[in-house]
């Protein structure tokens, strides 16, 4: 995408396009990546509640895969995950590792 020049930017950095945050893919900030292990998931939805972004997807009322376009890898979901019988359903792995 071609970046705009100074004559093209909106006065005061006001964003006039609703929902344009979707275009800002913050997933590239990630250093650690959450990995979902479905067999340990009890569908408590804690990860969905605690995610400070909207990077935990839900499909038909069930926990679905992460949205890695926006997940910054903060690890809150992994911390909060109760897992099943002591086995976490979300673990953090080094990005690109």
């Amino acid at each position: 995408m071609k970046l705009k020049g100074w004559k093209e930017v909106t006065p005061g950095a006001v964003i006039t396009e609703a929902g344009s945050a979707l275009k800002f893919k913050t997933g590239s900030w990630r250093v650690f990546k959450p990995k979902w292990i479905p067999e340990n998931c009890i569908q408590c939805m804690f990860c969905w509640i605690y995610c400070p972004d909207m990077a935990v997807k839900v499909k038909d009322g069930k926990r679905a895969e992460f949205d890695y376009d926006y997940c910054k890898g903060c690890g809150i979901c992994a911390l909060e995950c109760p897992g099943k019988k002591g086995n976490k359903a979300i673990v953090m792995e080094e990005e690109g590792g």
């Binding site: 970046l3 705009k4 020049g5 100074w6 004559k7 930017v9 909106t10 006065p11 005061g12 950095a13 006001v14 964003i15 006039t16 609703a18």
Partner: protein
């Protein structure tokens, strides 16, 4: 029909705010501004204005509430002084960066420590590069007139920047002077209906203010903001022309006093310019060609125009009512020096720091400086480029 009254500077500016009737005013009391906003609060209580007056717990909050209200789409005003302006500092840049046309009288006061409540320009000088437009006022009449013109300048669609109107604490804010008020209707028509730009409350067209701008775009926004500053002087002059039609009073980017054929000159802001003009008359009576330049639009500083106005002089003293610690010279001096720097033939420039913390600026001070300038003009020799005057050894 205008009305002649005897009022203080604070009273005059409060009356201008009443005539303009802003949508929102968020203010916090601080001497010597207190009496201005107390009077305005009475107008609100008495139903003389429809302004939503927001009482806040600090000046940081006052400016924050003004920013929110202006972004929401309202015409917004506040006022402050000295340490209050200092506490607003962070938010001043937010107001200008978001291009919000907030109008703020600044009743100039010194900064602590030592604690002092009196007239001094350290407060506004500290905020001179915050992206706000600054109009400076010699007396109550100019403060009133500048306050009315400020709304037109700030809200101009090519500008959309906040404006400070500076007036000297106590010397102007609390002294009674003869001034002329314009009719309420005349002011209302002059200022006109407020025109919104990207208001937050327009839910049909949702917008976001204050996004994170990373290194890939920050510089473009700053460059655009710098460009807006280049358009301010023309708007200030056009608004002044319209204002002259309703008031008969003429304003420019700066005022010159007996400067055209002058050989020596003073450059001085606000109330002390009045005192200096009297002394310049005395020197003229003695046959000494003295003159004066008083900046009005201090930010953006009209470098070219001021350079042109001063370049023919032999010696000029810039008097600063604020010091720039560690910068060698006072803030006004540095701007004046920049404005004549490019000329091959230019006046010798000296700098005096005067009147800090409300110390009186007396006609004798102007006399001493003008005598020194006459000597410099004759000999070309300078003893001291910068010194404090009116201070005990």
């Amino acid at each position: 029909m205008s009305k002649v009254v005897a009022v203080t500077g604070n009273e005059a500016v409060a009356n201008a705010l009443r005539q303009i009737n802003p949508d929102v005013c968020a203010a916090y009391p601080i001497t010597p501004q207190t009496d201005m906003m107390q009077r305005f609060a009475s107008f609100v209580s008495d139903g003389k204005v429809k302004t939503e007056l927001i009482l806040v717990e600090s000046e940081h909050s006052a400016m924050s509430a003004c920013i929110g209200s202006a972004a929401a789409g309202g015409r917004v005003a506040t006022a402050t002084s000295g340490p209050g302006l200092a506490l607003m500092w962070e938010m001043l840049f937010v107001a200008s960066g978001m291009r919000l046309p907030i109008v703020m009288p600044v009743v100039n006061r010194s900064l602590s420590a030592p604690l002092n409540i009196h007239g001094d320009h350290s407060d506004a000088m500290g905020a001179r590069d915050s992206g706000w437009i600054q109009l400076w006022s010699e007396n109550a009449q100019e403060a009133y007139d500048n306050a009315i013109q400020a709304f037109r300048i700030a809200e101009h669609m090519d500008i959309r920047l906040p404006v400070m109107i500076c007036l000297d604490g106590f010397i102007i804010s609390h002294s009674i002077e003869r001034i002329e008020y314009l009719d309420d209707d005349t002011v209302k028509n002059f200022v006109g209906e407020y025109k919104q730009l990207n208001p937050l409350l327009d839910t049909e067209h949702p917008v976001s203010y204050g996004p994170l701008i990373l290194p890939d775009y920050y510089m473009e926004f700053r460059r655009a903001q710098a460009e807006v500053m280049t358009k301010v002087a023309d708007v200030v002059l056009n608004v002044a022309k319209d204002f002259e039609k309703i008031s008969g009073r003429k304003y420019g980017l700066f005022e010159t006093y007996r400067l055209d054929d002058a050989e020596i000159g003073l450059v001085i802001l606000n109330s002390a310019a009045g005192t200096s003009k009297d002394v310049i008359d005395e020197f003229r009576n003695k046959g000494i060609k003295a003159g004066l330049l008083k900046p009005r639009l201090y930010r953006p500083f009209p470098y070219e125009e001021i350079g042109e106005a001063l370049k023919h002089l032999k010696a000029v003293c810039v008097l600063d009512r604020a010091d720039a610690f560690g910068a060698s010279y006072g803030p006004l001096f540095m701007d004046i020096a920049s404005s004549i720097y490019h000329y091959k033939d230019k006046p010798i420039l000296i700098n005096k720091i005067y009147g800090l913390g409300g110390r009186d600026y007396m006609p004798e001070h102007a006399e001493i400086v003008l005598n020194e300038l006459a000597e410099i003009a004759k000999t070309g020799k300078v003893k001291t480029f910068k010194e404090y005057i009116g201070v005990r050894e």
